[in-house]
């Protein structure tokens, strides 16, 4: 059941570009007003298609979609006048950095004096002051990305859709952008954010949906997802000799169904709520099988563990769910 304050509502959304394969395959979710909603997924999982559908750029093949209570197929222009979009692909005009901000503000009908005020604040906030007179096509990829994100803040909006906005940004600028978004959220903005950077999602999102092959696999708050395995801890192991496959197979059998073992070559990730017992079995087994432990690390669960678990993580084998 959708929340009454949902600003985006999708039910059984499907979309196919070629009538053979579904880029979206029965996606249902809602986004609440004032939250940061993250869409996590590998490349080609369907995140950008979903953003394009929500921003009215494509019409889903089937299903129901409402944005701000309106149908994108019939009220696209009205929806678009109340949202902001930062696309994954670069977008800029053939003018200077500050010209790009000015033109974009003008296009949104922002009065000149307000435009100047916003432009100056954004140039400072995104570290663009020194390159303000340079042509946008003549600056680096990361700088272009900053211009692209900055200009979206030239206008007012109710929902901001960001499709992997931090790609190409350095660590400082990434944090600046995420903090800017947080600041806008505090003022009431709703944000829908796609990324495959799990740290970002952890830092910014209230709720995340993990999407793979056009389907939503998990949808919950970040905290709930991290608690998904109760008080479980993660153990990373790397075995340095040829015993690895047999070692992990035996370890998985000995640890039983309550421990998840995801194997990738000579390494494995274990999820367990009793790390002490697991460590004892690892030590005993390494002795009995003469397996050389090269790396052993016990840590708290991260969103990345949840993500890898839900999309398979490219592992070769796994134990119990």
């Amino acid at each position: 059941m959708a929340s009454p304050d949902a600003v985006v509502l999708a039910q059984e959304l499907r979309h196919s570009y070629d009538k053979k394969r579904f880029a979206l395959d029965g996606v249902s979710f809602s986004v609440r007003r004032g939250e940061v909603f993250g869409l996590l997924g590998k490349n080609g999982a369907g995140k950008s298609t979903l953003i394009k559908a929500m921003t009215t750029l494509i019409q889903p093949t089937s299903g129901t979609l409402r944005v701000l209570g309106m149908d994108p197929a019939r009220e696209g222009t009205r929806i678009r006048s109340r949202i902001g979009v930062v696309q994954q692909a670069e977008s800029f005009d053939f003018t200077t950095v500050q010209g790009n901000l000015d033109v974009y503000g003008m296009l949104w009908g922002i009065p000149r004096s307000e435009r100047t005020k916003r432009r100056e604040a954004l140039l400072t906030r995104f570290g663009l002051t020194e390159i303000r007179k340079r042509r946008a096509f003549d600056i680096s990829g990361g700088q272009k990305r900053r211009v692209q994100v900055a200009k979206e803040f030239m206008h007012d909006m109710e929902i901001l859709f960001l499709d992997e906005p931090t790609v190409g940004l350095d660590v400082i600028m990434r944090r600046t952008l995420l903090d800017s978004i947080r600041e806008e959220v505090r003022r009431g903005l709703t944000v829908v954010f796609t990324t495959h950077n799990l740290e970002e999602a952890d830092y910014l999102c209230d709720r995340v949906a993990v999407i793979d092959e056009g389907k939503i696999l998990i949808l919950d708050t970040v905290e709930n997802l991290k608690r998904l395995y109760g008080g479980k801890k993660t153990i990373d192991i790397t075995v340095g000799n040829a015993h690895a496959p047999a070692f992990f197979a035996e370890l998985s059998r000995e640890l039983g169904p309550n421990v998840t073992v995801t194997v990738s070559g000579p390494s494995a990730v274990l999820l367990t709520d009793d790390p002490k017992a697991a460590l004892g079995k690892i030590a005993a087994l390494s002795q009995s099988m003469d397996a050389q432990l090269e790396w052993l690390n016990v840590r708290k669960n991260t969103l990345e563990d949840v993500f890898l678990k839900s999309v398979g993580g490219g592992g070769e084998g796994a134990g119990a769910p």
């Binding site: 750029l57 678009r80 977008s91 053939f94 003008m106």
Partner: protein, 257 residues
């Protein structure tokens, strides 16, 4: 007019002009036709009139005014192509604009460049020749023809911009088209029976010939019934090309690949 969202349309036109009026673009758009007028006008003057009078310059001036519609068309095609290539097409269409507004914005920008360029060329010619048309009807016909011609060539280049995805292909096709359209028309010389038949046919099917002949008739104060027929043919061709351009545009992908 409400459905067109007039203020939004004006903003789109303003933006198209803003990002296309850098000095480099202006030199090409206005400087090139002016140089044609000066160099071809005076250069061929000596052949056509033995060095006296202004006959070739007077013949060329309306041709160069007409040439502006082709230059204006390239603005329209370039705006769409560059917007697709550099992501602004999808960005604008995820903003408060409809596809129709975006299309009209480009067409009207082309038209404004055509009219502005023609007005500048008229001024340059006036300086070179020392006289020009003064009758309101002449101005009305000239600028009316230039508006229709700008729509035709704007639509043609829009069609090209919507269909072609490669930078090299777009530039090559555009250069070839501009060459053919300009030199297989009556912009620089009259249609003569001494021309090879193939070239005569090219002249006669070339819409720029109709634009040039009508503008020339109005400029010289010698409008005839044939000019009206030419205008009707031009208008009909414009409708066809506009239809094809709109169809290609509406089917075009949002992003350049």
């Amino acid at each position: 007019m409400r459905a067109l969202g007039l203020p939004k349309l004006i903003r789109l036109i303003y933006r198209n002009i803003w990002v296309n009026t850098d000095p480099g673009s202006l030199i090409i758009l206005l400087g090139l036709p002016a140089l044609y007028l000066i160099f071809f006008g005076f250069g061929f003057q000596s052949i056509s009139s033995g060095g006296g009078g202004h006959s070739y310059l007077a013949f060329l001036t309306p041709g160069i005014l007409s040439f502006q519609v082709v230059m204006a068309g390239t603005v329209g095609g370039s705006v769409l192509w560059a917007d697709r290539r550099y992501g602004m097409f999808a960005q604008l269409l995820s903003g408060p604009f409809s596809r129709l507004q975006y299309l009209l914005g480009i067409m009207l920008t082309s038209m404004l460049f055509g009219l502005g360029g023609a007005a500048v060329m008229l001024g340059v010619a006036w300086v070179l020749i020392g006289s020009g048309p003064t009758a309101p009807l002449a101005f009305g016909v000239m600028f009316g023809t230039i508006i229709v011609g700008s729509i035709f060539f704007g639509a043609l280049m829009l069609f090209l911009g919507a269909m072609v995805k490669s930078n090299v292909a777009y530039n090559s096709i555009q250069i070839l088209l501009i060459f053919l359209i300009n030199f297989a028309s009556t912009v620089f010389y009259p249609l003569s029976s001494s021309l090879p038949l193939g070239i005569q046919i090219l002249f006669q099917i070339n819409p720029l010939t109709y634009v040039a002949d009508t503008v020339r008739g109005a400029y010289a104060g010698s409008l005839a019934l044939t000019d009206v027929y030419q205008m009707l043919v031009l208008a009909a061709e414009t409708v066809v090309v506009l239809f094809l351009a709109v169809r290609a545009y509406l089917r075009s992908e949002l992003s350049y690949e």
